[in-house]
Symmetry: C3
Subunit: 355 residues, 3 copies
Amino acid sequence: MRGGLCDGIDLIEVRNGALSFRVLPTRGMQILDAEYAGLRVGWDAPVRGPVHPKFINIIERGGLGWLQGFSETLVRCGLASNGPPVEDVMIDNQGNESREQLTLHGRIANIPAHQVAIEVIAEPEPAICVSGVVDESMLFGTQLRLESRISTVLGSSRIQVNDEIVNLKTAPSELELLYHCNFSGPFLEAGAQILAPIADITPRNETAQQGIDSFSECAGPTPGFVEQVFFLHLNADATGRSLAMLQNAAADKAIVVRADTAQLPCFTVWKNTAAEEAGYVLGLEPGTDYPNPRPFERHKGRLVTLGPKESYHAQVTLDIRDNAAAVAEVQAEIDTIQAGRQAVVNRERHPDLCG
Amino acid sequence: MRGGLCDGIDLIEVRNGALSFRVLPTRGMQILDAEYAGLRVGWDAPVRGPVHPKFINIIERGGLGWLQGFSETLVRCGLASNGPPVEDVMIDNQGNESREQLTLHGRIANIPAHQVAIEVIAEPEPAICVSGVVDESMLFGTQLRLESRISTVLGSSRIQVNDEIVNLKTAPSELELLYHCNFSGPFLEAGAQILAPIADITPRNETAQQGIDSFSECAGPTPGFVEQVFFLHLNADATGRSLAMLQNAAADKAIVVRADTAQLPCFTVWKNTAAEEAGYVLGLEPGTDYPNPRPFERHKGRLVTLGPKESYHAQVTLDIRDNAAAVAEVQAEIDTIQAGRQAVVNRERHPDLCG
Amino acid sequence: MRGGLCDGIDLIEVRNGALSFRVLPTRGMQILDAEYAGLRVGWDAPVRGPVHPKFINIIERGGLGWLQGFSETLVRCGLASNGPPVEDVMIDNQGNESREQLTLHGRIANIPAHQVAIEVIAEPEPAICVSGVVDESMLFGTQLRLESRISTVLGSSRIQVNDEIVNLKTAPSELELLYHCNFSGPFLEAGAQILAPIADITPRNETAQQGIDSFSECAGPTPGFVEQVFFLHLNADATGRSLAMLQNAAADKAIVVRADTAQLPCFTVWKNTAAEEAGYVLGLEPGTDYPNPRPFERHKGRLVTLGPKESYHAQVTLDIRDNAAAVAEVQAEIDTIQAGRQAVVNRERHPDLCG
């Protein structure tokens, strides 16, 4: 891409015959957006993106610089940390305590990929796969490698992200990984619904407490709306698979996020139904942890620790539905998993979940 | 441009038949320099520029990183803030107080433009116009857009900058905008004069206090000279237009900065007649405010507040004079505006002006 | 170079018929690596480099961001400072004290060169020379210019770095310059030896104190090994020239670092024989000073001060030996300089050397 904040970005557009999507190797193999049957998957961020990492300074504005580049539909938050800017205490290469100032949602979104490849796969089904390697590493620091494979079966309405995160060190490493999947129209609108097989749900902030009763309902663009964040556990099928769906008001269009609760046990919902200009958007975010300060997540035992050379696999699928029957199919799938169980609704912030 | 700190910069050179100037879309539509009748408009900054924003870290050196790229003849300071690095307290998207570390002269100078275009205009006079859009925006942050049009009438000795700053948010936004216009030889030299229809003038710093009596006189390059900064209000004509001129010792060459006192009521003069190597330069700087810490300017009521979708227009003209008669014409223009009024000279820093 | 963290880097490969090496104008004229007689000079840094400066934020991680790009075999640390991140107190352009947050090993490694040229030289010997200019300068700040000439005589096994550092200011400037020369296999291995005409040697850290007796011995890759740093003074020949050598276990391969003790009186050895994945490497580092906090080095009188327009010359030579006789020749050279003198071994950290 040429000019403005996009200058120098490499963009890979994949078309499977029915679905198209765009991958950004320059921004850590994020998915910019997708289109299926005339439905656009994505959102209109206040920043006109995609933004090349060379224009991003993640430590600006007290560690909120990440927001200057936040515009994609699938953004990984991690790998060493996600969540808000906070000071953490680490052990350095000399064995001493060292203080580190973590920045919002970590570094992986702003590191370019190498070994980028596009393959056509014949088995088990004909598919196209874009792969790339993103290294979050430095001497005496983290050495986490993301090997990402993003694939789509020809003619399907699905994008499958298969990530392998490898600890290249000979010492253990902590990992935090969250898939910040962001959607707006035509799925998000007044009357749109969030459906999922919810085991329990907890508001993270005060506005979320106020909005807990209408959690599943989405408002239209609302100037002045203050974001609401909810922390969920999802029920899963026998193999651990679960899902969450955002369906439009007429229930004839939906976007589904599928993940494995063993890999990504923590599910965050970000309601930001503010004005269009302020980034009207809903986030469905499976993660290894909740996007709290890392010291809090460590204390609560939600950090993944990878041993030397150990790797972690995570799979996330985006699944687009363009008619009422296809949406109803997912509703039935959710009902089957839920099996009549009642979601536990915490009406207040919970000390185990909210840091 | 290729190589060194310039690598990757787009540069647009405009020639109107008599005057040429160079615009930098990659650096927020700044004007690098100009030439008319063999007279170079610009200065020799200690940094060999122009410098691509990818090599600038505005928060380096305690928020002074902006200086690493400061080398143009017309540089905008803004849009959310100008002035020195300072902590400011803002209200965040959750309605809470949040502390923000402002950096020297803000972000707009280091953001690349998009929608860059060159037009030839027939009416009212044949002119060439370079335009571009620069977005200073991020989620939960400022969303100010600069739409800049820089034009020159064919055969003229003038460059006109027409800027529209739009608040894209649905909430009000503060704006600070200052045009840092920087000139050196052949205009600046020992015996060069600063002329303007001054209503009042106030020294900002101690060295300026010492230099207040010789304000209008310029020294030659003086190793060890410490910058002097003066805050002025200018008188204007009936339509609000005013001007300031830097004329050479022989009064046969001059550069004139024209602005509207309703749009840009605060005028700052920066005398930095240090050694050539240290950036021998004079700044004539019309602004919406004085480059003081933003909390101080807010307290003094000098911040512009733009309502939702509201925009602010500012026009600045650079006007080059290459002979004694043309210089005398501007002197007469200044005298006409001044109409015999005496400038109020504050000999000490003033609590309303100096933060 | 294209893609990943290397994207946009210019790389110059020089081949003299026997020896090849690669220079990085984009990274301040560092030497990435070299090859002679099948022997690779360089190391495998945890970061997959070379890394373009646009992806480096030197103030990240408390001023350790430099490590994100540290992957070359010859890296200059300087020019205004080297050593760890630390706050220093400087006098600003107004004559006032100002606090500056120095970052690890300074800025020069992440500034691109301009005026890059390649020459073939006939006299005194036929040679190839790559030259470039790197400016570490900004308004009201440092204005140090590095003019680097990196040359090799045709058919030789040597690379000679000739650097001129010029203070462009009309005021004096401090200078710190250290050549971080980093080597791994085939020179570094279990049983490899460090040889030099040592006048005195002092451990910098606790692990170095523990390792002082086996200073000259190198271990194989050792997971969990904590770096050891030693500060040395070297004896020199009558003209001031000295050297240090890393030879392999069989003493039939060696890399020699030659420098002038008048130009670069402080010699640092960095043993980091950690796991291969953690950057198994040995550093031989001639410098104007030791890489301590700058205020400490100033206090100890080890900072170079350059007067207005004054320049400083430093020459460093890398010399590769590919057989036992050639290695023995250097051993003899070291013995001749040492002339039977015993090295003074400080077994504890020394208050004059360790800040």
